[in-house]
């Protein structure tokens, strides 16, 4: 349900970096704790991309499994039961699997970031340092 808002935010972020160049691939890293439904995000991205530099771009979603770290004994565990690894709504084991503590921090799985984009570049092949200057965000 929130995928449309996230798709719009992704397109806006890419617009800032692409500087008018068409993006062909947009790679995002999506933590399991963000409750993103991959098919929904792909669909909403296609809609949000219309008329933007992302139009027609492929959205690559890299899933990041969740990892919790116990504040009491330090052990780490994935809160998604293995059988439900792709069903984020079944993230239920927020209790340390080693000592039973409920005090934990999220070590991994809350990511939601645009990792990289591939843009079509007209003109000469610039040296890397030049290229980086061209793509620096505003």
């Amino acid at each position: 349900m929130h995928e449309l808002s996230l798709a719009i935010a992704i397109v806006e972020l890419v617009e800032r970096y692409a500087r008018g160049r068409a993006a062909s691939v947009v790679t995002v890293r999506v933590g399991a704790m963000r409750q993103v439904v991959p098919r929904s995000l792909a669909f909403q991205f296609e809609l949000a991309a219309r008329g933007s530099v992302c139009e027609g771009a492929t959205l690559v979603q890299e899933p990041i499994p969740a990892l919790l770290r116990c504040n009491d004994c330090g052990s780490e565990w994935d809160p998604a039961p293995p059988s439900a690894a792709t069903r984020v709504e079944l993230l239920v084991s927020f209790r340390c699997t080693a000592c039973g503590s409920t005090r934990f921090e999220v070590a991994r799985g809350e990511e939601l970031e645009v990792d990289s984009i591939e843009v079509a570049e007209a003109g000469l092949d610039l040296p890397t340092s030049e290229r980086e200057r061209c793509i620096a965000p505003r």
Binding site: L6, A9, F94, R95, V114
Partner: protein
């Protein structure tokens, strides 16, 4: 023509977080404590707010109402003679299902912030999206009605994990339902061990005093000078 890979590694919601921080600074400067009130549609956010604000002692409270359309809720709150501003999310992309920091920012001018101790932002009814978007709040409060079932904390862990208080509403209906309150509370603690809760009924008024006291304490703890 060739392709260049551009490394970005930027949080998708960075822009929102930056604006939320600016809102928060403004709230802090004006000494106003801000509550982001969230729930599913129909859980009773507005009713519980109406009940709580019927008596606020000498605390000065303002309300920001978020809805996809219309001012039904804002009209109800305004009847209590509380400063209220309405945000409608429908001019956005098909009617946003949540408030974001920028929408809140745009509405701040409509409220006398410097004259308020407490601002309650009533979010759009939804258990998913509002959890993702900070708006500059100090605390998050959720309403979960017993008619929604006891499994909701497990189904929407992101929302239940990010709030400080859960108001369990419509408890006057408990005799008519199969809702297992102990199981609900166990599920709630499983996803958020630190969270507080209050059992309330906006219809009968049960528990409303405790909810009002929680709000008043929150505002007075956060703002001991109390601006007067």
């Amino acid at each position: 023509m060739h392709r260049t890979k551009v490394r970005i590694a930027e949080d998708v919601l960075d822009a929102n977080t930056t604006i939320a921080r600016a809102n928060r600074e403004e709230f802090d400067r004006d000494g106003v404590t801000v509550v982001n009130l969230m729930s599913a549609p129909g859980a009773g956010k507005t009713s519980l707010l109406e009940r709580a604000l019927q008596r606020t002692d000498d605390l000065r409270v303002g309300v920001l109402e978020g809805d996809v359309q219309g001012s039904l809720d804002a009209d109800r709150v305004a009847a209590l003679h509380v400063p209220v501003a309405q945000i409608n999310t429908d001019p956005g992309f098909g009617g946003e299902c949540h408030l974001d920091a920028n929408m809140v920012r745009a509405a701040l001018g409509e409220l006398p912030l410097a004259e308020l101790d407490l601002l309650v932002i009533e979010n759009v009814g939804n258990l998913v999206c509002p959890a993702e978007f900070q708006v500059g709040e100090d605390v998050r409060v959720m309403v979960s009605a017993v008619t929604e079932g006891e499994d909701k904390p497990l189904k929407y862990p992101l929302m239940f994990r990010t709030c400080e208080l859960v108001l369990v509403n419509k408890i006057d209906l408990l005799p008519h339902l199969e809702f297992d309150l102990d199981r609900f509370l166990a599920n709630l603690r499983a996803v958020n061990p630190e969270v507080e809760h209050r059992l309330v009924s906006a219809r009968t008024g049960e528990g409303v005093d405790a909810w009002r006291r929680w709000l008043l304490d929150l505002a007075s703890v956060a703002d001991p000078a109390a601006k007067r």
